[in-house]
Subunit: 194 residues, 2 copies
């Protein structure tokens, strides 16, 4: 196979290969779960050579992180509604849709599993989380610039994202709009100490 | 394979086998991660026959759930301090110690991974969670019986357990006593609507 890895054009062969490989990864995670397939399995499913995958991504962990990052970014553009409450409600609703969608649990499992795969997995996971954190921080920065009181990004993780993630990971109940809005409202509720 | 030196345990041969098998599972999860070992690997590590494991536990998933349940129960007796704030602070501190301990991440990965393994895994996971839920509910019931206002068990999961679980699963910061106490205090803070 003679590819030119440094000349990627959107819509060209390289982009199609990437899309096929991403789709193969998502399917394999859904069907078998993380840890139960190899680069060879992905290559066979996507109809490419193993060497193409190694040349482009370097390792299974890097490929998995790329899949997770691409999906998180494509599916979660950050809302800009003019108020922090509106932004957070909209963002939380997006995350809820994403993690309760057809591949949502597989995506969450992937991010969790990357923690258990040594340095490459940890680095890959950290890139996924850092990107999510940057998106969230820009939303909070806009609120502060408007003069709104805003929690820090870790408080959003703790009290809006974490409950949704854990409920989906543990299979506990559904993420209704009322539940999701309630998480945001509770976070933004002023405390006794101001 | 390196044989671990055996220490004598009370309860006869059957209990020793169970303890050795549990230890083998915990080690394998820590070393390889869930999904990357078989019943045969566990048997070899524990020095027992595969058939002994299948006869006693029936399946890998059931064995894994048994390990998780035993560890959660042995390590988390529910506190009874006389106040809900005291009980929840003590409980949260126990959970924080457990999930940040040497096998804590492996244990969390195990509970998460059981969700992705089909019916047996789901049932096993649900048993683990139901036992945890019963322990927690009994603590909340005692508070209500004393006349204290108490959140429901899911609110404790959402705002005390979930943030700790996700921070450990995602490798974000450490669970300091101040952080853990703060999660409990925030949960018990009276809301504006009473």
């Amino acid at each position: 196979m003679t590819e030119q890895p440094r000349t990627r054009r959107p819509g060209g062969r390289s982009a199609r290969v990437a899309a096929d490989v991403h789709q193969a990864v998502t399917s394999l995670i859904s069907e078998r779960g993380y840890g139960n397939f190899t680069v060879g399995d992905i290559a066979a499913r996507a109809g490419v050579a193993d060497s193409s995958i190694y040349r482009r991504w370097g390792s299974l962990e890097t490929l998995l992180a790329d899949v997770a990052l691409t999906r998180l970014n494509a599916q979660s553009p950050m809302p800009d509604t003019g108020s922090l409450a509106g932004d957070l409600r909209s963002y939380a609703a997006q995350v809820a849709r994403e993690i309760t969608g057809p591949d949502g649990l597989a995506l969450l499992h992937l991010v969790v599993a990357l923690s258990g795969t040594g340095d490459q997995g940890l680095q890959a996971r950290d890139e996924v989380l850092a990107e999510r954190g940057r998106q969230l921080q820009s939303m909070l920065d806009r609120a502060v610039a408007r003069g709104e009181p805003a929690p820090d990004a870790l408080a959003v993780l703790d009290h809006v994202m974490a409950p949704m993630y854990i409920r989906v990971l543990f299979g506990l109940g559904s993420l209704t709009p009322e539940y999701v809005d309630g998480l945001v409202d509770r976070l933004l509720r002023p405390g006794p100490e101001a």
